[in-house]
Amino acid sequence: MNKVLENPNPKIYPKLEEKLGTDTECENIIRNTNEFDARGIFELLRNINDPEHPLTLEQLNVIEQNLIEVDNENNEINVKFTPTIPHCSMATLIGLSIRTQLLRTIPGRFKVSVTINPGTHIAEIAVNKQLADKERVAAALENKFLLTVIDQCLENTVQS
């Protein structure tokens, strides 16, 4: 994107030690559909690109393993993400990218929720409501322009 950056100097965080590095191991996360854990979900999301910076959501600390909850018994996955700044206008787009990546890689039986880490964004309630509305998410993903942007964010992630 060629416009003025909203957050020109984001803090960059070190990457987590690559415990699951190889493609085969990443594939196992997806194929083993019975048992998911926070580490596996983190692996699916860590390499999503930030819409503004040539950095991943992991490097910007938007995604953290300890903010991911997986309940295999009740088929629930809850992901909290932290926008880089409290007035980040990209928060909905980032949330939508996370949601799309999970829609594409996680079996349909899971109920996935993607929300803003409480207290880290000024429009937290409005963004959360929009990301939880599956009808609006479905409509957004039929928008070709938006889908192109999301696909760019997801180009380096584990594919289904």
Binding site: R109, K111, K129, D133, R136, A138, A139, E142
Partner: protein, 334 residues
């Protein structure tokens, strides 16, 4: 406790099925979804079979289908911002009319009981009322009463009164002002704390049930001017009051609710994959009614249930639609 038994699983749609609608005779079902098709299923001897697949009228997801009261027309609302009207003058269903005007996704469409009016609503926050002239539909009014995405429109069972539910957490009731022919908001129903996804009138039209993302059902009672319980009606207009909230029964968003005109039973479609049936207690006070859960069908579908509707003629028959791509027909018995 009541019993819900699966009569048949109707498979054919590709992807999520958003909505199903019974033909007024109760003998056919129309379904629609993200595959941009409408499927019509009919009852042949002892089984439901696919009769027709309607395609090519919409370029995006079909969110809702609705049969006209005479059963000769189908209206379909789509994310492509249009509503298609299908007729069978040629002997088969064909789309000969497309209603355009909404700025973006059309979420719902409903026929008035006389069949002369259609209402549509959209993410553009507006509700449109269309009148049927000589083989032509004309937009009679654009109502901008909601402040957010409008999810559902539904007409009163026998009067020209319209109700709408919205992402702005409210339900609104509209009435035509006689001398101007404009539709005005007669009542705003405020109580839900998140998106209201659907609503349904009871058989009299004096009561409404609404369902929401806040995981509750609410029962609303209309009080007309001069009502015997002394509820004040400012402006001499009827007012709607929430007389009952059913909370603690649903664990996720409730996407649809239908109040059976024959039996008085209420059925809900929920994001926790469960279909639930509620019955009003026999000694229930109309001003403070009590309802009890009489059936809860776990894993009714393998994903979110988007729609559940009672057959208009056969008591106890339910059709449901889900994100799992299936349509299911159920029989409820006490």
């Amino acid at each position: 406790m009541g019993l819900l038994e699966l009569q048949q699983n109707l498979v054919g749609h590709k992807g999520r099925v958003w909505n199903v609608c019974w033909h007024p005779s109760g003998e056919s079902i129309a379904s629609c979804g993200e595959d941009k098709t409408i499927r019509i299923w009919t009852h042949d001897k002892s089984k439901w079979v696919i009769k027709t697949i309607l395609t090519e009228a919409h370029t995006r997801t079909i969110r809702e289908v609705s049969w006209s009261p005479c059963g000769n027309y189908i209206a379909s609302a789509s994310f492509d911002a249009t509503v298609a009207i299908w007729d069978q003058k040629s002997g088969q269903f064909e789309c000969n009319t497309t209603l355009e005007g909404h700025e973006n996704e059309v979420k719902s469409v409903s026929w008035s009981v006389c069949g002369n009016y259609l209402a549509t609503c959209s993410r553009d926050k507006s509700v449109w009322v269309w009148g049927m002239g000589v083989d032509e539909y004309e937009c009679e009014d654009v109502i901008n009463a909601h402040t957010q995405d409008v999810k559902k429109v539904k007409w009163h069972p026998d009067k020209l009164i319209l109700a709408s539910a919205s992402y702005d957490d409210t339900v609104k009731i509209f009435d035509m002002e006689q001398h101007t022919n404009h539709w005005i908001c007669a009542s705003s129903l405020v109580s839900h704390t998140s998106t209201v996804w659907s609503l349904s009138f009871d058989r009299t039209g004096d009561r409404l049930v609404t369902c929401s993302d806040d995981k509750t059902l609410k029962i609303w009672q209309e009080y007309k001017p001069g009502n015997e319980v002394g509820i004040p009606t400012p402006d001499n207009e009827p007012i709607w009051k929430c007389v009952c909230t059913l909370s603690g029964y649903h664990s996720r968003t409730i996407y649809d609710v239908d109040w059976c005109k024959k039996t008085g039973l209420i059925v809900t479609a929920c994001g926790d994959d469960i279909i639930r049936v509620f019955r009003e207690e026999g000694d229930s006070d109309i001003h403070q009614p009590t309802f009890s859960l009489v059936c809860s069908m776990d894993n009714a579908h393998t994903q979110d249930v988007n729609c559940s509707q009672w057959n208009p003629c056969i008591p106890g028959l339910i059709v449901s639609a889900s994100d799992d791509g299936t349509v299911k027909v159920w029989t409820y018995s006490d």
